[in-house]
């Protein structure tokens, strides 16, 4: 099957854990089903370059990181179980507290 192409984006500091790259085009193996849960495992294994505990906690993202799928909160879309579609945009945002 064709690869599953998606866009991965990082904002407000989350990119620092991923080689300081804010936007990546991914081609994932099209023979398997890709949920956000699988994507997080793939990211951990392949592109998470800095302290993983600042990104993940157990099987999910740590508190204070928002996950947006096509600019919509993943909580409205099934969170870890959401199944990625071709051309999806997945954005990870660190929450800022400064002023």
């Amino acid at each position: 099957m064709d690869d599953l192409k998606i866009i991965l984006e990082f904002s407000a500091g989350a990119e620092l854990l991923f080689g300081n790259i804010k936007r990546r085009q991914l081609s994932l193996d099209g023979n398997q089903k890709w949920t956000i849960a699988n994507l997080l495992k793939w990211m951990h294994a392949n592109i998470l370059t800095e302290r993983p505990e600042l990104f993940l906690q157990g099987d999910t993202v740590r508190p204070g990181i928002l996950v947006l799928i096509n600019d919509t909160d993943w909580e409205l879309l099934g969170e870890l179980d959401y199944e990625l579609q071709a051309n999806d945009n997945v954005l990870f945002i660190s929450t800022l507290h400064g002023g």
């Binding site: 904002s11 407000a12 500091g13 804010k22 505990e53 600042l54 906690q57 740590r62 508190p63 204070g64 928002l66 947006l68 600019d71 919509t72 909160d73 909580e75 409205l76 954005l91 945002i93 660190s94 929450t95 800022l96 507290h97 400064g98 002023g99």
Partner: protein
């Protein structure tokens, strides 16, 4: 507590003529602003421009909270303060600058830490609260107090060249806890002292907080509720993202809240309520 003003003075009309003529603003909007009271928590990089644009627009009553004194390292972004006023309380310093711009605004300074003991008392008299604070514990504290007192909370934040903005507790929109039920681990939190921040970025976000507060007070346009604006100053790109509505089991804003009075927020977050955000030494 003061009697509402029902008329604009001639000076008001001369001074505010350029905004009075805006569609959906008018004399009624100006009167709403004149009778409004806004609390700004934090007179730093966000609080300074937010206060400036609320006072210049004719907000009648302003409360300013900051426990800290003006330091030289604040002046690159905290534009209400001055070299001369280094060492003075930030709230007092801001008040001096703001009254030069508009002597009609009644400004009350609270030069102390806002905490679980005094927050309900401080927040109660205001119509809208601006979260211009710089630490996680104060953000949860303000959220809970505002939910309990039903005050809209206009929340801004900034770090390095990034900024974020939303309005909590407005209409059917979520509160801070709906979005962040669990505080972040202390080691994941960077403050402006350690991470740095560009003044123009806090200026953009702070002015936007004033704009949203004015919209809330007057009932103008679409308030940033249920949406989060994220700003990347390095590329000058904004994104407006859709966040969730109220969480049905939110500990503070749901129909059956678990939290009905303020808690110990430093303990809850494991961090101090200062911009140091250093972890508490838990014995």
């Amino acid at each position: 507590s003061t009697t509402p003003q029902t008329q604009l003075t001639n000076d008001d009309i001369a001074r505010y003529s350029r905004q009075l003529i805006l569609q959906d603003f008018g004399v009624q909007g100006q009167l709403k602003l004149k009778n409004s009271s806004v609390l700004i928590v934090g007179m730093g990089g966000l609080g300074c421009p937010a206060a400036q644009y609320l006072v210049s627009a004719g907000c009648g009553h302003l409360g300013l909270i900051d426990y800290d004194d003006v330091e030289r390292s604040n002046l690159h972004r905290q534009i209400l303060h001055s070299e001369q006023r280094c060492g003075m309380s930030k709230a007092e310093s801001a008040r001096i600058a703001l009254l030069e711009l508009n002597s009609h605004c009644q400004i009350r300074c609270h030069s102390r830490v806002i905490n679980s003991i005094n927050a309900m008392h401080i927040v109660r008299p205001y119509d809208v609260v601006l979260d211009c604070s710089d630490n996680v514990a104060t953000r949860y504290l303000l959220n809970d107090a505002c939910v309990m007192l039903r005050k809209p909370l206009v929340s801004g934040s900034a770090l390095k060249m990034d900024g974020q903005l939303t309005v909590y507790g407005y209409g059917q929109g979520p509160c801070y806890r709906c979005i962040y039920p669990v505080p972040p681990p202390p080691e994941a939190v960077t403050n402006c002292g350690d991470g740095g921040v560009l003044g123009a970025v806090t200026g953009i976000i702070g002015a936007m907080q004033a704009l949203e507060a004015i919209k809330v007070i007057i009932g103008l346009g679409d308030v940033m509720s249920g949406r989060l604006l994220i700003f990347d100053g390095s590329s000058c790109m904004f994104r407006n993202i859709r966040i969730r509505t109220k969480r049905p089991n939110c500990h503070v804003c749901s129909a059956q809240p678990l939290i009905t009075e303020l808690i110990d927020y430093e303990m809850f977050c494991g961090m101090h309520a200062t911009d140091k955000d250093n972890p508490l030494d838990l014995l």
